[in-house]
Structure formats: C-alpha cells, structure tokens
Symmetry: C2
Subunit: 320 residues, 2 copies
C-alpha cells in the first residue's frame, strides 16, 4: 500500500522494477485512487475556487475559459462561485477562504477592499486576482488607465475633440474599477491634447448591457453639441452606442466614430474598432500564477501586466 502510494505520487525512492510491477497491477486491476481519501490524508483539497461576477458576460467567460484550460491539465478541480448581487460579492469575498476549503483562490475582476485583502492574505490560502490588483495580493491584468488613454488618443489622432465616454457606474457596489481607470486614461489623453474634459460628455449607465449603453448614448447624442466620437468602456456598451447611432440615422464612422474595449469575439464581426486585451490568456496566466504560488509561495505579491493593443476596424474615422 505504501509503495503503491509512492508510485502514484511519483516519489523518487522506488526501484524501477517495483515501479513497473505496481503500474502493471494498477493497469490490469483498473484501479483508480479514491480522491476523497487522498484529500483527507494529504490535507490538500485538490480544489481551487474562483469567484466570478456575472460569468455569462463575454469577457468574463472568456477569461474563465483560460482558467479552465490550465486547471483541467492540473490535478486540481475548479469550483465556480458566480456573483450576481452585491451581497454575494461581499459574502464570498468574506467567507470563502474560511467556510469551505480550497488550496487556492482566484478572484476575477473584483477588487477587494483593503480589509478584504488583508483577510484574504491572512487566511493562508494563496490568492490570485485576475483583471484586478491589490498591493497585498498577486494579480494579473492590464493597465486600464493606459488603455483608456490608448482609445482616447486614437480618437484624438483622428481629429476628434468632442469625445464622449460611456461606461458602467464609476462607483458600483461590486467595486469594479475598470470604468474609473479607463475614465482616468480618457481624461489624461484629453489633457495631453489640451482638450478640456467636460463631464457632460461622460455618461454612466446604471447597469452593464447593450440597452443601458444605448440609452446613455442617446443622451449624449441629444446634447446641443453632440460628440463626434464615443469611447465605450466595453465592447458590449459600444454595441449600444452603434445602435443609438443607427436609430438616429447617423452613419458610423462617417458621422460618428465609436471605439470599444476588450475585443470580445463579437467585436470582430461588427467591425468594431477596439482596444484588445488578452482575455483567455489572463485567466490562463492567473491560474498558472496561482499554481506556482501554491507550489512555492513568493516572498512578495507578484503583479503581471499584460499588453494592450489598438485594433483598428471600421467604426472609427477622421473627423470630417
């Protein structure tokens, strides 16, 4: 029994002969080790949890895909906790490391508060944030301020000066921070071009979604001097802007330029100019980082920044 276990766990102290013999026996008996027993005696749960908000949203599910791809190759199981209310968010972030047990925890797109981060850190289970950062924790993601500036800079370079910004709530109960960071980049780019940053060109949608973004865009287009270009903080929201433009009979890009963010699959099909960020790769990288941290803890939080790329398609054009 002890020897069998050593073979199964690739322990080096086994002679080649017995190793082979055991492996043959295993094969012929069609033996499968019982994972529950393994977990109990080894003290490892062989389970990794991931907290995901709205995991059906294209960008989140794409990241999740990267996580699944990496973990399916490992010995770890992935358990998903889907967050669809602020209460769930707080509950999971607060209780998860305690209530059940995991060998590692991934958190997607949710930025912990300092208190939450501290608690997470002290829980002892390795944590990696994906698409989010906190000084106390490992993290993988892009620089959204730079991304906001990249998108806005593209519009400015095309000659636009009246540039709208559409996003989710800047202060939302889930503590998504992307909208704020991209707004910051937007303002920076405007400032660099000496264009005043007019809050009347900034519309927050109360909810994430095409419909809400469409309404927000409508408000922008209703202004006395409507923007000639709009930067939407996500591709989904950019679709809403496209719809609002179409409803108004505005030609995109001749009369209105639209740029999105994320480069989800649909963006290509609708020829949307957007800022590409590695989605599934961020999940894969986060999972790898977690696996590494579980194998041998790092001394200090590791922060991985992934690159952003401007993808020029057919929804942006020079200002006429």
């Amino acid at each position: 029994m002890g020897t069998v276990s050593r073979v199964l766990n690739q322990h080096p102290a086994v002679s080649e002969a017995t190793r082979a013999a055991v492996q043959e026996a295993i094969a012929s008996l069609n033996y499968t080790p019982n994972p529950s027993a393994r977990r109990l005696s080894s003290g490892r749960t062989l389970t990794i949890a991931i907290i995901v908000p709205f995991f059906t949203r294209p960008s989140f599910v794409e990241r999740l895909r990267g996580v699944v791809a990496v973990l399916n190759q490992s010995e770890y199981q992935l358990v998903i906790y889907n967050v669809e209310t602020p209460q769930q968010r707080d509950l999971y972030l607060h209780d998860l490391p305690r209530r059940s047990r995991f060998d590692g925890l991934l958190i997607l797109s949710l930025t912990p508060t300092d208190a939450e981060a501290e608690r997470l850190q002290q829980s002892g289970v390795p944590v990696v944030l994906i698409d989010a950062f906190h000084p106390l924790l490992h993290g993988v993601g892009v620089d959204d301020v730079a991304g906001g500036a990249l998108a806005t800079g593209h519009l400015i370079a095309l000659g636009h000066r009246d540039i709208g910004y559409i996003s989710d709530l800047i202060d939302c109960p889930y503590r998504f921070i992307a909208s704020r960071a991209r707004l910051q980049g937007y303002c920076q780019a405007l400032a660099a071009a000496q264009i005043p940053c007019d809050p009347r060109y900034q519309q927050e949608a109360t909810q994430h979604g095409v419909r809400e973004a469409r309404e927000a865009a409508r408000l922008l287009l209703d202004r006395p001097q409507p923007p000639t270009a709009v930067f939407a903080a996500s591709d989904t929201q950019a679709f809403g802007v496209l719809q609002a433009a179409r409803a108004r009979g505005l030609d995109v890009p001749a009369q209105l330029s639209v740029i999105g963010y994320d480069d989800i699959e649909m963006a290509e099909f609708w020829h949307l100019t957007t800022v590409h960020q590695p989605l599934s790769e961020s999940g894969a990288e986060g999972a790898r980082l977690l696996l590494a941290a579980m194998a041998a803890p790092f001394d200090s939080p590791r922060q991985i920044r992934q690159p952003l790329t401007l993808i020029q398609r057919q929804t942006t054009a020079p200002r006429v």
Copy 2:
C-alpha cells in the same frame, strides 16, 4: 463527536436541548467541518460533474448559468469539463464516470451514442442530459424538430417560398444533433406547404461562428434565384446572415427575411426575429432533475420537454 455529526447532518434523533448546545459550541468555536473527511467516511463525493462543449458560446454558457445557480444552493460542488475537440468529447463521455468520482453527471448538448449511453447508465452514477435526449437517460430540452418547423412556418406564413437554411455541419464529430433536427422541421414545414425542399437552399457551415455563417449565406445569396428568407439554426449564425446581407446592400427585412434560433441575449439587441427556448432554465431544470435522481432514482428515464416560442422582432417581413 457522534452527536455533533448528527446535529450537522440534521439527523432527527437529537433532543432540542443538546442540539442547541452543540450549535452554540460550533458557533463559538468557529468550527467548520472538513469536507474531505465527510466525503471519505460518507462515501459521497458531494461533487457533480458537467461536460460542456465550447462553454463560451452564449447559449451554452447561459444554460450553464442555470446549473450553477441551482447547484450553488445545494451541498454539491460543480466541476466543469470543457470540450473543445472531438477527442475530448469521446474521452470525457467514455472515462468520466470511471476515472474520477462524482455523485452525478450532467451532459450539455452532447448526444451520447447508444454504446456511450449504455456505459453511462451502467456506471451507476445518475446522469442527466441537458439539451439532448437518449432513451436510456434522463433528459431536459426542447423539441428541435418542432422548433425548425415553427421558424420555417413563420417565414412561409409571410409568403416566402424560397427559404434558405443555414446550420452547422449536419454530421459533426461532436454529435450535436440540433442542426439535423431543425433541418427536419424545416423540411416538414415546407412539405406541409407543398414547397419542394431544395437542397441547394441548404448550406452547412464547417464551423460554428459568425464568420462561417456569413460565408455560407454568401453562397446562398449568390445563387441565380437567391432565397428571400433564411432560417439560421442559431442566432450566432443568423448574425452572419445579417452581415452577408449588409455586405451585399440587401435591406433586412424588406429584401431578405432572417430568423434565428435560441434567443440569446444579443438577439434582442440586434432586433432578430428568432425562436426562443429556455436556456438558463434548461440548466436549472436539468440540475434539479439530477438532484432528484440522486436522492431517489426513478424507475425509468425522465424526459422533460420545454416550450418554444416564436419571438417576432424586426428581421422578418412579408415577401414583397
């Protein structure tokens, strides 16, 4: 210890007094039972597996969402096996009930062969198919033949006679069967209206995706007598048809009617007429069915048929 266990597992044979005392002790000690130990001694894994093909596709992820919602409320963990190659499909369907251990298995949109179904049945773990059926297994889903007829009937009722059909491969290595069933319904509806079912109006795309559907639609529109209406076997493919029409300068719905299938979220935003089927609800129902079957096996396979609804939006119109 025994008593504590009884309290935790809501065993009836405990007096109110001791129950309360134990619960207080649990609370004050901040005690959490170790799930691994529970699993080992009880012989239950408290885990349910789900095999999902391409779980990032909108309709699949929406179904998955229903599963997650139900199982997160139960004591079971969900482990996802994502299928992205035919080999993975065969491997998982063949090995999963054996290799690791689950208390239950969900299979999404993949129809097992008779041999696979038999093996699954004999493995002893309860299995529920979602969006698929097999006489030996429990299943939840819609009647895709009826759905195909519903979509096609709508176009016929609008006066169309030259009606195209665009779908995935009818014979695909994943054994998705929806495309074939919907084609069957399409043919039935045509026959009922005494319209010949011309195979030149049927285009299979080699892959699922907007791009491939766009190419397929292009072929259809290139025909000497192009169809005046197209039924796409999924909303995603319908988007491809819309693009092909737009690229050709065809007005939808004035010159070309397009109907999809599934009613994914995006369908509403692009005003797509489509056949609505319960997506997240199919997952939820499947999970509930599995939980029930795990609690008390049914004598014979339970098949739940969910309703289909025609959703008329703005991509279909009477033939001019």
